[in-house]
Symmetry: C2
Subunit: 577 residues, 2 copies
């Protein structure tokens, strides 16, 4: 038992019987519901449809063993699929043997990187991407996904690999729209849109509980797919009218194909794989975290990395397409009632059955219906509310979000995310270079100091208390010197300047030197410079610096201590606003 | 008079007679002293020697009119010269007509950029470069200068344009050293080194005042040059032994050559010119500032930009080589006793005389002696003390300095400075991502709060006061959450968490959302989250954010207000260190 409990994952050892039935049911329902999107995302990635089913088996089990989230569902997801296509389509023809090998290599390399990051406890790297940048990236990719699916809705096969070239030729030949396809895709699209945005309200009016209503809404896409397929089969739409269908879905279990990518693929794919790992990490961890919060559980970012990494490694050998933690997959899993990772294992086993015996049923599934499904899912991922919130709270973050979205659409996924990271770093620096500096005084009857422009406070006319609300670094010293000079010009009687450092956490070498020069400069004008409320770690650092050796004034523990010492020799006046 | 005072520069209108005599003498002495380095820096830039004299005339007058420093001397300087050579030598053969045109274009473009930055009040851009990066850049360039001069010392003409290629072939053919040249260069080098590092002490022992001693030290390079030239002339070393000399120095005033660079040159030179303008700006402004501090004057960064820009524009048309504010030139000017900009004007007039009638005397000046001069000056610019100070005060700044120096030497001037900027930005971000977070308590008898690990303070066991010493942004939220979790695990009885925001100046969108989630998370554990000492500008921003709408606790003006409100219902305990 002791040995078993060491080998088996914790959740299995501690498994509670009460969860068994819900997990079994959820595993079965989940599998049925995600089959269409699994096929669709494989096609989106430029791979044969059955690959989407393959990677819903062993990678899911791998995640159940090593991952840390109880209900996150990994598998083929939209972002990963479109990234795969974006990276590989310039390198090989989609669907060709080289393309398949490259896709498996991409999965392998990004899996290895995720594992490595997990083992090295690099989970903190996810911090490199701010939420506006992530949100902008997801919105931009979703718009790209929508654009890439338009051709299937219209039943057209425009030339060129690149989405923009294809869109261009679609618009030039709009009269060539395939009307039989349109007859399928438009109703499917309308039903799906209604199901997503209007059906819940109707169902609630009809007296369904909200969880039942949510479940029905989630079933609709499957029903639309079944209706579409039935339509094709009954009316023979594919043979008679040339409606595009998935075509052959190869049945049978995927074989285990061990391989190591060659040096050239590693070189070509390293950067995209790293980016994919990074995005996968951020999406996976934030997804797992938000699910965990709802369930009052905790996830471990590094365990999550190991789970995602193992899952991608297994995906490379058993199917050959990168996997991720999916927003819609996980939502389906939760809605189906999953309680633990066992639901995932059940779903993997059910999927083996589908792959072995029922996959051919999907051969005549019309692509237009799948495209309608993908488009509605992708539109749902465009997060306008996040943009509105960011814009409202902080223009610069809003711009970073918009820049990332625009960058993804116009420059591609990598260009877009680089632009986003660049914008968010530039914002940080720009902010820090325009520090808030306040002249402060004491709130009467307290030891608390506040901005003279906001509060009625006590001041000493000969003493200038200046609170600097930013770390001092090479980029903002001019602004601070300028402000000090302005104050000295306004109040010519000042004899003492007290810099209140309560908000200063760092003073870099440049700043330390500039402060020393400022001290000398003030001394020549018979003004002493004092420092107050220096933080412990900063004081440790400054202790042996030239600045404290030459300082003309004193160092006070608190602004109040300085105020008290000056108020004995000077008059206090109360500033009026 | 009114009209005149509007046209003439302020210093001339307010000119005091007492300065006239010192300025006249200083102007004459200065001119004689800087002739050798002016010739040398023109050669260093890959231009004919007389160009160094030309740009010591009208650009100096332009700076006297528009510049803001009283004693800064502009003209040919080492950094600008080596940057010119580095930029142009891959584009054209040094000394060729295209090269001369490109050098003039470079001067024109960087002058125009400086003027533009001055008019647009872009002086703050100088902040982009931290002092360690500037210092590292100057040290690196100086080392490059030293390396580039070794061939002249040894009297060798190695093949290749690039310094490293030349050094390589020098080392492979060390036996081909030109011994006659060595007989001149080694004594010159030794005398110059002694003059710089040992002579002052000797002179002081002999009873000279320190200003006299400094003056004598500054004259030595000129004497060495004269001795070297006399040696060549008397012993006919150039013709008999093939010692390399300057060669023909064209006499006569430079003509005014107006031109506009063509589109292609603008395209090629725009980035180097911008970099040059930036470095010129930083060096010029910091030089002017340090001189102004010593003389208790103020300089205006933007006027300084206009002065440097005008000076470079004039240099483009009258000579054709970029100019800058020189460290050693300015030191010579001050040592010679200059009081106002008039000294510069006098020096320009004297230089006209030299160019018109005496320039040919320098034709037989041995290059080896000039190289020895340049090397000693360049070695003096390698600032080891700056590195030691930065390293001692702040490892990261020390590394940025070292990285910039190494980058300049190995990757070239542009690569080096980019590396330096990258390193200093990375340092900033890395620091901000590891914030200092302190559990704080009240100093007994005060309203002042301090770290419980550093002071004996009062605490309330049920209330955790956490002071975050950094702006909250996407890069450091994990660290803060981790710390909070640790504290909650350590003290299981905590019911209230007060985040003291006195040191938080910015809360970006990601941080605002994470705080909202943290609030919800804590609420589920029956812990309330409070905020205290939110800064005015931050409070304005947060006021309408989702965070304040959902906050489970209160917002306190000060930590003490929070402490008072909790201490009425809880016991206060005094923490022992």
């Amino acid at each position: 038992m002791n040995l078993l409990s060491r080998i088996l994952p914790v959740w299995l050892v501690q498994y509670r019987r009460v969860n068994l039935w819900p997990d079994l049911i959820a595993g079965i329902i989940f599998t049925v519901l995600v089959i269409p999107q699994s096929l669709a995302y494989a096609l989106l990635a430029g791979l044969p449809p059955q690959v989407g089913l393959y990677i819903s088996i062993f990678p899911v089990i791998a995640y159940a063993i090593w991952g840390s989230s109880t209900v996150q569902a990994v598998g083929p997801v939209a972002i990963t699929a479109i990234m795969t296509f974006a990276v590989l389509s310039p390198l090989a023809a989609p669907g060709s043997p080289e393309y398949l090998t490259l896709a498996a290599s991409l999965s392998l390399i990004s899996g290895a990187l995720l594992l490595l990051m997990g083992f090295l406890h690099f989970g903190f790297l996810a911090q490199l991407l701010s939420r506006p940048v992530i949100s902008g990236f997801i919105s931009g990719s979703s718009i790209l996904i929508v654009l890439s699916q338009i051709k299937y809705l219209l039943g057209m096969t425009p030339p060129g690999e690149d989405t923009w070239t294809q869109l261009n030729s679609i618009f030039q030949q709009l009269s060539h729209v395939h009307s039989a396809t349109l007859m399928i895709s438009m109703p499917a699209l309308l039903v799906l849109i209604y199901a997503r945005y209007g059906l819940t309200r109707l169902l609630r009016c009809l007296g369904f509980t909200s969880s039942h209503a949510a479940f029905i809404v989630r079933i609709i896409p499957l029903l639309v797919v079944l209706a579409g397929t039935l339509g094709v089969v009954c009316l023979d739409l594919d043979h008679l009218y040339g409606v595009a269908v998935i075509g052959k879905v190869i049945e049978g279990l995927p074989g285990f194909k061990f391989f190591l990518p060659d040096y050239r693929s590693i070189q070509t794919l390293a950067i995209p794989a790293l980016l994919m790992a990074l995005i996968g990490m951020v999406q996976g961890i934030s997804m797992a975290q938000s699910l965990a919060i709802k369930r009052q559980e905790r996830i471990d970012a590094n365990a999550e990395l190991v789970g995602l990494g193992a899952s991608n490694l297994v995906a490379a050998f058993y199917g050959g397409m990168p996997v991720g933690g999916g927003v819609s997959r996980s939502a389906v899993n939760v809605a189906a009632g999953a309680q633990t990772q066992l639901a995932g294992v059940v779903s993997a086993i059910v999927m083996i059955g589908v792959v072995a015996g029922a996959a051919h049923e999907f051969a005549r599934l019309p692509l237009a219906v799948l495209a309608a499904n993908i488009i509605v899912a992708a539109v749902g991922m465009v997060d306008i509310k996040a943009f509105r919130n960011a814009w409202h709270y902080d223009r610069a973050d809003g711009l970073a979000l918009l820049g990332t979205t625009g960058g993804v659409i116009l420059l591609g996924l990598e260009g877009g995310i680089m632009l986003g990271i660049g914008l968010s770093l530039a914002t940080l620096l720009f902010r820090a270079s325009k520090p808030h500096v306040a002249v402060i005084g004491r709130l009467p009857g307290t030891e608390h100091f506040r901005n003279v422009e906001r509060y009625e406070v006590q001041t000493i006319p000969q003493v200038l208390f200046l609170r600097i609300d930013e770390n001092l670094f090479f980029g903002n010293l001019n602004a601070i010197e300028t402000r000090l000079t302005q104050e000295l010009i306004k109040n010519t009687g000042i004899q003492e300047v007290v810099l209140v450092m309560s908000a200063v956490n760092q003073v870099d070498t440049t700043a330390m030197e500039v402060l020393s020069e400022l001290n000398r400069d003030l001394m020549q004008r018979a003004i002493r410079l004092h420092l107050a409320e220096i933080k412990g770690p900063l004081h440790d650092r400054l202790r042996h610096s030239p600045l404290l050796r030459v300082l003309s004034g004193s160092i006070y523990l608190s602004a109040n201590e300085a105020f008290e010492s000056f108020s004995t020799v000077n008059n206090i006046s109360t500033a009026k606003l």
